[in-house]
Symmetry: D2
Subunit: 490 residues, 4 copies
Amino acid sequence: MTNPLSTRDICNPFDDDKLHEECGVFGIYGHPEAAALAALGLHALQHRGQEAAGIVSHDGRHFHSHKAMGKVGDNFSSEEVIKSLKGEAALGHNRYATTGGTVLRNVQPIFADLANGGLAVAHNGNLTNAATLHRRLVQEGSIFQSTMDTEVIIHLVANSKKTRIVDCMIDAMSKIVGAYSLVAMTGKKLIGMRDPFGVRPLVLGKLENAYILTSETCALDIIGADFIRDVEPGEVVVIDDSGVNSHFPYNNPPRRFCIFEHIYFSRPDSVVEGRSVYDVRKAIGRQLALENPVDADLIIPVPDSGTPAAIGYSTESGIPFDLGIIRNHYVGRTFIEPTDQIRHLGVKLKHNANRALINGKRVILVDDSIVRGTTSTKIVQMVREAGATEVHMRIASPPTTYSCFYGVDTPSRNKLLAARFDLKEMCKFIGADSLNFISIDGLYTAMGEEGRNAAQPQYCDACFTGEYPIELTDHENGAEKELTLLTECY
Amino acid sequence: MTNPLSTRDICNPFDDDKLHEECGVFGIYGHPEAAALAALGLHALQHRGQEAAGIVSHDGRHFHSHKAMGKVGDNFSSEEVIKSLKGEAALGHNRYATTGGTVLRNVQPIFADLANGGLAVAHNGNLTNAATLHRRLVQEGSIFQSTMDTEVIIHLVANSKKTRIVDCMIDAMSKIVGAYSLVAMTGKKLIGMRDPFGVRPLVLGKLENAYILTSETCALDIIGADFIRDVEPGEVVVIDDSGVNSHFPYNNPPRRFCIFEHIYFSRPDSVVEGRSVYDVRKAIGRQLALENPVDADLIIPVPDSGTPAAIGYSTESGIPFDLGIIRNHYVGRTFIEPTDQIRHLGVKLKHNANRALINGKRVILVDDSIVRGTTSTKIVQMVREAGATEVHMRIASPPTTYSCFYGVDTPSRNKLLAARFDLKEMCKFIGADSLNFISIDGLYTAMGEEGRNAAQPQYCDACFTGEYPIELTDHENGAEKELTLLTECY
Amino acid sequence: MTNPLSTRDICNPFDDDKLHEECGVFGIYGHPEAAALAALGLHALQHRGQEAAGIVSHDGRHFHSHKAMGKVGDNFSSEEVIKSLKGEAALGHNRYATTGGTVLRNVQPIFADLANGGLAVAHNGNLTNAATLHRRLVQEGSIFQSTMDTEVIIHLVANSKKTRIVDCMIDAMSKIVGAYSLVAMTGKKLIGMRDPFGVRPLVLGKLENAYILTSETCALDIIGADFIRDVEPGEVVVIDDSGVNSHFPYNNPPRRFCIFEHIYFSRPDSVVEGRSVYDVRKAIGRQLALENPVDADLIIPVPDSGTPAAIGYSTESGIPFDLGIIRNHYVGRTFIEPTDQIRHLGVKLKHNANRALINGKRVILVDDSIVRGTTSTKIVQMVREAGATEVHMRIASPPTTYSCFYGVDTPSRNKLLAARFDLKEMCKFIGADSLNFISIDGLYTAMGEEGRNAAQPQYCDACFTGEYPIELTDHENGAEKELTLLTECY
Amino acid sequence: MTNPLSTRDICNPFDDDKLHEECGVFGIYGHPEAAALAALGLHALQHRGQEAAGIVSHDGRHFHSHKAMGKVGDNFSSEEVIKSLKGEAALGHNRYATTGGTVLRNVQPIFADLANGGLAVAHNGNLTNAATLHRRLVQEGSIFQSTMDTEVIIHLVANSKKTRIVDCMIDAMSKIVGAYSLVAMTGKKLIGMRDPFGVRPLVLGKLENAYILTSETCALDIIGADFIRDVEPGEVVVIDDSGVNSHFPYNNPPRRFCIFEHIYFSRPDSVVEGRSVYDVRKAIGRQLALENPVDADLIIPVPDSGTPAAIGYSTESGIPFDLGIIRNHYVGRTFIEPTDQIRHLGVKLKHNANRALINGKRVILVDDSIVRGTTSTKIVQMVREAGATEVHMRIASPPTTYSCFYGVDTPSRNKLLAARFDLKEMCKFIGADSLNFISIDGLYTAMGEEGRNAAQPQYCDACFTGEYPIELTDHENGAEKELTLLTECY
């Protein structure tokens, strides 16, 4: 009613122009405070989705559910809500909606009664053949309530002829194509499933006697849980009263973890696929300084995501690191839509250049990525207006040139700056004195590899290279639009 | 957030202790202001359900939907909402929820994508084999999102092997048992369907070039539409650009319209199954005076539902009609839960005896029915405390002795006053000097019949007689509970 | 947030075109549940003001206050609110705002710290020299927070040189001119004060050991309190631990109670200045039938305020009383603003003619008053469209021809139908076959007088006769506008 | 209704244990978008008060006002609100409430009608004789609506015998004692007034033809306005259509600007009393490293307020600066009140140690100040649990040992860590291996002075030294409590 959204900006003042991760999941089995811990876990994962959140719990007899538009802290902080989510097992989800159509029925986890009991599912990622499957299911009489991939999975599970729920899910897994990390909950089990390429993250943790399946380790840290291991690509993990059991139902292709999780999506204090995100980002900054040095007076991070790389760049180059751009921490929802009269003043709602520091200096700005280039343009202009004599932009990732189909919200290709222009034109577009990106090989080097293995890349880097490891079924047969059209009931 | 519900009390200050109709429907096809007219129609039908309302429209390409907890006027009065419900066809529904579980996903109309397009369904009544069908459908892989009968119907339609939507619906009709008047809307048609016994009402109306299917004629009056005819028991009416077409797919048993619609449910200004509700109620009052005369100074209606019968009683008996009980029109939600200290004061939130009128008089109270008897007890006491020397209670219906399974919310039998006590005990329970009900034959006489045809009653009067015309499948095989348990996800 | 107002329509479906009482007050001293009882009392007085309500309590040490826009039941029904209003004394107020400027700071009771302690004041009526006094006080350095008369009184009390609060109030009383019934509360006393002419009502009641000062007896009935007596014109009643004490500080002119309280403002179950309102209204109906008979088939009350007079008319004339206009009880806020396309349909949101009853009949409509005439016009048209062959309108008050300055919201004179037209023109305007009002002498006769004493009228009937008993200071010296202009800070 | 408050935590995750500035003001005269600019200015000043905000505008004829609990962005971002605040002059205020009694009537600016027109006043600071003045004014008949200092000032203005508003204000200034920067607005003027010692900040800016009076330069930057100069201690600045005029009505004592504005209150991008806040903080960090060196592997700022000093410490010491504590940017209102079962887990809602970085390292934590010590204790523990082998705490201010009476919210003295313990005990209390504060002389040195002039200190540093430059009238005569008691009406 009251609260709108789009508050992710709080995290990153310039993230109008960032790629967006589409979800975070948190499941826990075997703790008397399951729902409260799930709420805390989702809070730690808030950067992965701010538009809506939901938690389903099970108390041994019944499921209980609460979903709401908006952030976790605004909707799951009352004792009343948490108490209503009874039981020792809980499954939660943060949603970032790619399209305008965020409505409550699209909030996960979604829940269904199957012949042998209820099933709740929450999922991070994107099925690349969802529309194709959806069309086939509807023709066979299935009735859909949402436009979410997740519901396709549930229908596949419901239609499986197997009797055990785990087998039904493995059945469903054999039909879906895409990048996904999903967690399902029945009255007796918590089940995690990661796609065969392992594109999206999923980790296993433990707190006292309870097990946890979640997107990032920071969701373990917040509740003091121990990190056990990453769930493996193609693995199906089943947690119940007998403990943790693993299934690898299919032969897996080589792993292709999403490299952008390291560059921007994950929190810097998370350890992802064996590496500290903060460390990787500093290493990228050092490599960037090696590849693209320039003489200057100050290194200024574009807050907050550029900070670790800026520290690395400063260390390598010896140029001082300084806070040249100050954030306003109070930016909530969209502010006053300024009139033309005000707009020309160049209102700076989210940040302000530190004029006393910058004036008369040659500065290097370090940012993690450029998507459309709109924000970079504004930052360069703001820094120049504050008196910088030279502005050099250094980017801690290669040019983002291709769309993602694996669960990340990217603008269409023709809006990506790097797909429209070459380096020189990009530099001119953003108005900098120089612009450089880390090389793709340099990025792999910073990750600890000996460069990118072109024959068999160690990560999914499709957004930089256009090499998509997983088949784009719907995209190729034009079915993407169909999913939306059929079910549109606003 | 804010919204209260349970505001039906506004209508009848004493209806804590009334039976409750469970729904009102309104569908319109062929008018540029379809959604606005649907909102007005639902407003006129508000007495049939106040807990939630929904409207789905179709604009030739897309469906649009708005649902909300609470009353029509509170949720469908803004231009913004009405404008969002585009198109020349619209289907609306008022809901009275029988159980505590009123949640938004249970609000009708419900909508589904079928293989050949979208289908919205709204329905008044109750299927007596819903749980049995639900169990079978789930075993075959259907996934349910609600616990509503309506969803069972939609799944039956989705699973039909027929190709034309009307045939799919007739298919579904052959499988369901119960009392129902439903209206469905596709992108091209509005379809009405009434159960073979014709228990629940449904009328056909016309406004300019548009056709309307709705529960009562008062919903036609509010928009100035013409009443054409009642939809017949067992009839399937199909409205599209070619006009109105009727199907009678099955042989119908003799009609058994719900006699309680005349006694209490319908609005007094509606004409129901050929009779003016107001006229019938006055006739009942006259018959009641003939059957159960008593010497007194005043006839006092129990407001507001007892008023027409009280006028009839006054006409027949010659005793003056007077307003001895004054309502407070401002009763909204439940008021202050009084402390013990206050409760003993006998707080009268909803009504007050007109002491200056009543004091020292012998009064006859006329009410439409007694359910649990709790309210009658309070009224008699209030009237005595205001100084009445004698209090005679006359009831415009026979004793309500059996539960309804056909879409009316009745307490369990052991709470019905007439199932617990004989007449003398009831009189003592409510504290009156005398108590009388109209006889069942007298009721039929007031309806214009020559008494009740015991071999083949002209109406469904199961709540008075226990003779249920339609099979109670779920009730008999204990499946009722199951429906609730399986899907419980609060 | 959600709920605005203008819900008074719930009470009377046609009261767009009624005069409006401006307030109700309820003070109680000496009961452990004081605030809860005040809330109940205000609920019973809701018809006197629906736009806002407030209660201030005193617990022996501190004052506590809660005020809200909207109705009592919506804002004072939670245990939390009532519990926060601690203490054995409480003072409450319902507000009907005459102008658009209803804002929270204008909600009564208003409260101030005076040199000897706090004072809360609630008031029904209107000071006719408020603007004049306000201007003088501001010039002397007083700072106002509202545009309410009540604040003027408080400043006069604060500026009094007396030491005892009762004396300060009597001091203030000597300076103000107008029609007022006010109740004030200090930490130790409850004080009632009625203007010397006794224009507005105020009664004294008792519940156990507690005393009550309130506007109408129906507020005593709701909590089971006993009615003791009317407070006298010009009386100052002081209630404290020593009991009830009276002061008559000034010589009083003859009493001039507002006759419109009997015609429309008060609840029919109240006893006002010694007379039953319901009885008076029936007597007016009988007198109206004597003065203005007409041959017809039915008497139809304009609901709900016309009902008692219609019963009286029916009794006298022998023509049957019948419900020819059915209200929709669910009208809350303003409904859909209909488009032109819908407006011509003549949408009937609040009421519907009972066509089956009216069709082919000659009907007499009985209403309590006509103000602008807009609603009467619609009703006559609606009844004609339902098939009435003749429509005769009978009004239970003389023509309303003059504005009220004593606390009743009247349109400016040039909008009053009776100020614009003679009887014949009025009849034509509303479209009736005949129109008649009760005569002014007939009205006094129905009140039990031997006609109106022209030399010294027994009531204030300025709205009918233009004879204003109390000086209109501000109006005469043009100061009315000033009050608004000076303090306007929206 | 919905709104939460106490969201200032967003700014600083550890500021439960910080001193709090009590207000920010922003007045503008002569711009067609005055209210929109005021809203933007208040947004930039949000760190000075988050509990409530208000704006009053003047359109040449009328005042317009909007006030709300909560943050500027949540309440002043709609076009509707801004449009309602018409006119070319506007005055806004952010409030941080020291006591629980934040209610809407206490939100500034406050407004009053004086004999010669309306006056709105907003104010930052604290009068040290407010209660004494309040008592005297009430005895003379003044009626107060709030417990705010600001209202005392308005009453003094109202009671002045002068005719020109500026003279009335100067009159009032002669009676009040305390630390204050206030801005007043009449229909024709904007007036700024700073106390004779200049304790609280106030700056003058210009945008096109409009003049601005506001608390910090960051409120000028956000709208692209130019900084002109600081308003001088004891200066009265009058802005009207004739431009800017200054008055110095009294002899001023030497200036004593609040040194804590530089340490913590002001935004790092503001220039305060001629100095860049960011520069000063880095200089303090360098001085701190000189005074209190220690061998370690990492410098870690306590986010966010410790960051500039940590950079300075790193520069001086050569030890690397690194982000060892990661904030969660999504902390809104208070989160789930954890059960005991959860509390022992040591939930980290607002921040997380970067374990991969810290583990096995000797770290130096740099923070701006210690108040109670509670947060420092938690941080040290968190960093140790993340594997730090040594934890050294360095504080960029001297020990906070005395309460502030000049508009800053400080706990009572017996809760201040430095008032309870000596250095060694404090170090033990927070659990660090070593603890050091910058010296008071070192602080003055970092500010560019040659140490503190003990005879005539250059700043107000009473919180460190106990030397209060302004008389504490109420405190000394025990009148503080009285103000609250008299007016308590919750």
